[in-house]
Symmetry: C2
Subunit: 553 residues, 2 copies
């Protein structure tokens, strides 16, 4: 077959644009719709994390019910009901049937959702696998309505039908959808495990799953208080690129660059602006921020980096909390041993705040079934309290945990011990590696923090394990000696004619007292050694990314 | 801090839509822009694979020059020049500065690009890291022009400036861009390795890299013929979902469902339509395809699956080719042993055609530097002839290769042997796991095919390895006997008085002949054993997805 030379006009006559919804229709695996089990979990993940976000924002203790029913070959319905604030009637289409539309994308705030893709992705997935719209019931407290919702994929526009008022006692949001090419399965990657882990990281939520067999699984809240709410914040000067700064400036409502800076950034005081003025003296700080050029912005960002700043505000982040994690680990895993740590917030990429929490549970129901039988180590990953069940092999959390030298902490083979390592990374911006948000991108600062957190817990584990080991060694020594005492007593009794029992009691008493002293001495020696060993491993704390000094803000 | 109950209107007052370019600006790691080295490789990957696609489409033997220069701290310029057809002046902005716009998305044809994201992604990455536009020079043969190109991120619209005619002797396309937050490095993930592998899978291309030190690396073509061009094709009836069928129907220009079917699908003859009519007798095949409903489409798709079809057309796929792969492996790796196979095309998801090629090279420059020194096994992945350097751990190719029991093929530890396993998957639609197109999604049919291809090559390797092993064993036996012969000759000479040399010659001749027979017997026994072993491993060929019987098309 000869090749014919074709010119550019011919080649490009087919040039077309397509919508983001068309793109994801064709590449739905990129949203997490790959594999039947994963696809169903993705639907539940999107709906339940939206419910948790909405309740958190509205200040409501979440009650979430998820019902999964088999409705045909490879077809399941999912119903997700919450007691949240609902969605206003006139924007329902833009919220749940327009890809890249939502409240969260432009915010600088820690939330589960951040893209405006998840909910609309489910609407699309229902459409392309069953041709059905999703059904909504929403009550805001003042009024309630129901409707069907679909999406015009070519234009990425919502299609709202059968809109009707319903009894206004209905409060919250209920979404019912039918999905094809899915499967319910009790596995590491299934809906049950997803919700179990969601309960683990959201101890303030009541979550009920009604599975396809009609069985109810209740994950009951273990704390009665709302988590401290993440607050919207402003970006920190160390967290922006030149392009970010230009974007902010060109969209600013401030009249001058000076006020633009104080309005836009946290930690940007009038004094700081004066400092910056001195450093970037070629820039007119009174000019319109819309006139800021790339070169000027670049100089400003350089000046930001050369300035000392108070670290980002800490209460913009909402971690699960040490006590809450302990309560749920006890509740769900009931381990022999556990250690939990919440690290101090840090920053990555210069100024994006994040905080890492980690926990280690050993024994009890910790770990997962190992391939060769028995329990094996498992890494339980969360980002902004949302479980990550897929793509572990490229995730910063897995990399960090696998990077720990577990032998040093008394875990001979991580894969063969009943150990669960939990890590939750919270941030105003979690750098996911893909649109499906199942793995955290490998940012060096994040990996480092996770490692430090896990190693901290691992040191407690090490002390526990060496205590257990010593107990075993000592018990076995004691048993050996006691066997010897019995034999010795018999022999002495034969030689001396003294009653065997008397000799044995005396000898045992003697050995017991002597042995106790020995035990105490050994134990304190061991502790000293463990402390020393732990001290060696303690990596030097890096200095805080921004110096914390007193300054008006 | 008490939580305040907030209502839905307050929560949703911030509802906003954003453009696809805004989304990728914020999440550029999803396009492959994560890490300095990877980001630079991503730029070169996008430009050079566009060049190869354009040349292939125009029927031109590609001459590609990539020049990378360091222009500042963490800043590099990339120039990519090809001898392709160029891009018509009036659409340049839509081709290289509009995300989700291109010629390839709607086609049903094997190409490197398929999304309309790559080239515009580079334009965005240049803008957000240096604030600069990219510079284009394009000549179509009739006329030539240059211009600067940038993108309005908020609206996803191109910004074309400084447009000017240039000397019309310029033929091809040259893109010059400046990028920040990048790094040139000689590593497994760097630009050099990327282009080296591109040369490996595109033996018809001349590729020149001028590195930041000004050093020229020339990857010279090893074949002078254009690869057989992939042809645009129509979808196979077994490869469509209900939703696909509806989309096709609602966008069809046919007047009746019957003609819509024959116009839309490959292998859809008039006879087949008659068969379908009988199976779906509730559907009026004379009605307007725009009126087709989900239920009717679902019934049609079910009928498709119950019908016997000729398999998809094979020459819609363009593999690298067995001889070409051998030539380049020899050229670049110069191994002691190699085996290459091109499998027959198969289908996944019911009807999307794909073809797998695999090669194994052993010794020479095969493998990569192992962490403990020496050479270790390496998996060299390609999709539609484009090297995949990242995200190997989630890729179907890596999974398949790691799933092979290498011990059975004489490779004791894959990680410690000088072995390269090359796999190329070609398809009209490669199901990438992410927008950055660095890993193939784990489709079971694709994994299975890769495994069969690799195991086929591995069996040849096994024969080679066991031959090598036998040679070693035989050589060592022979040497032992010969030492014995020398000693024996001396002893016999002393006893008999015959000249030592005479005895030795006779004995050696005797042993040599006897030994040769022994060797031949052993070798044939070994071969029989190997053949038997290989036979056991040969998994039963699955029947072709669609029965191939004579039928008009």
């Amino acid at each position: 077959m000869p090749n014919i030379v074709v010119d550019a006009d011919t080649i490009f006559k087919e040039l077309k644009s397509h919508s983001i919804s068309e793109f994801f229709r064709k590449n739905s695996q990129m949203l997490g719709y790959s594999g039947k089990v994963r696809s169903l979990t993705t639907v539940v993940h999107e709906y339940s994390s939206n419910s948790l976000d909405a309740c958190e924002e509205a200040g409501i203790l979440p009650e979430i019910t998820v019902q999964v029913k088999e409705i045909g070959e490879g077809k399941y319905s999912v119903l997700n009901r919450d007691n949240g604030p609902g969605i206003p009637q006139k924007i329902i289409g833009r919220v749940l049937a327009t890809v890249l539309s939502g409240t969260k994308f432009h915010r600088y705030m820690q939330q589960r959702g951040q893209q405006g893709i998840g909910g609309s992705g489910c609407t699309m997935f229902s459409l392309i696998t069953t041709g059905k719209p999703i059904h909504i019931r929403s009550g805001t407290g003042k009024s309630a309505y129901e409707c069907d919702l679909s999406i015009d994929i070519k234009s990425n526009k919502p299609i709202v039908t059968n809109m009707a008022e319903i009894d206004n006692s209905f409060k919250g949001l209920e979404i019912y959808g039918e999905f094809g090419d899915v499967k319910y399965e009790m596995s590491d990657h299934g809906v049950y495990e997803y919700l179990r882990r969601t309960a683990l990281s959201n101890p303030h939520a009541n979550i009920k799953l009604i599975d396809p067999e009609g069985k109810e699984h209740n994950f009951v809240r273990s704390v009665l208080e709302m988590p401290v709410r993440a607050k919207p914040t402003r970006p920190h000067p160390l967290g922006v690129t030149t392009n970010d700064l230009l974007e902010f400036a060109h969209n600013s409502e401030s009249k001058k660059i000076a006020s633009f800076l104080t309005d836009t950034f946290t930690r940007m005081s009038a004094n700081k602006v004066t400092e910056l003025r001195d450093m970037v003296n070629t820039l007119d700080f009174d000019k319109d921020p819309h006139q800021l050029t790339w070169d000027e912005a670049e100089k400003l960002v350089k000046a930001f980096k050369a300035t000392k700043w108070i670290a980002p505000d800490l209460d913009t982040l909402s971690a699960i909390g040490e006590e809450q994690i302990k309560a749920t680990i006890k509740n769900i895993l009931n381990p022999q041993f556990m250690a939990v740590i919440e690290r101090k917030p840090k920053v990555f990429r210069g100024g994006i705040p994040f905080v890492v929490e980690a926990g280690i549970a050993y024994g009890g129901m910790a770990g997962k079934e190992a391939s060769e039988g028995g329990q094996g180590g498992v890494v339980v990953r969360f980002a902004n309290k949302v479980p990550l069940l897929f793509d572990g092999s490229v995730c910063a959390i897995s990399l960090a945990v696998n990077g720990v030298d577990w032998k040093r902490y008394g875990i001979k083979e991580f894969e063969k011990e009943p150990v669960s390592v939990l890590v939750n990374v919270s941030s105003v911006y979690v750098p996911y590696s893909g649109v499906g948000k199942q793995a955290i991108s490998q940012e060096p600062e994040i990996i480092e923090e996770i490692k430090l957190a896990v190693m901290d817990c691992a040191r407690s584990l090490q002390r526990y394990m060496s205590g257990e080991r010593n107990k075993n060694i000592q018990a076995s020594k004691y048993n050996t000696i006691m066997r010897y005492v019995s034999q010795l007593s018999t022999n002495l009794s034969e030689i001396t004619g003294t009653k065997r029992e008397d000799i044995e009691v005396t000898l045992k008493d003697l050995v017991g007292r002597r042995y106790k002293k020995l035990l105490e001495a050994e134990a304190s020696a061991n502790e000293a050694a463990a402390a020393e060993e732990a001290g060696e491993e303690e990596e030097e704390e890096e200095p805080p990314a921004a110096e914390e000094k007193e300054e008006e803000d």
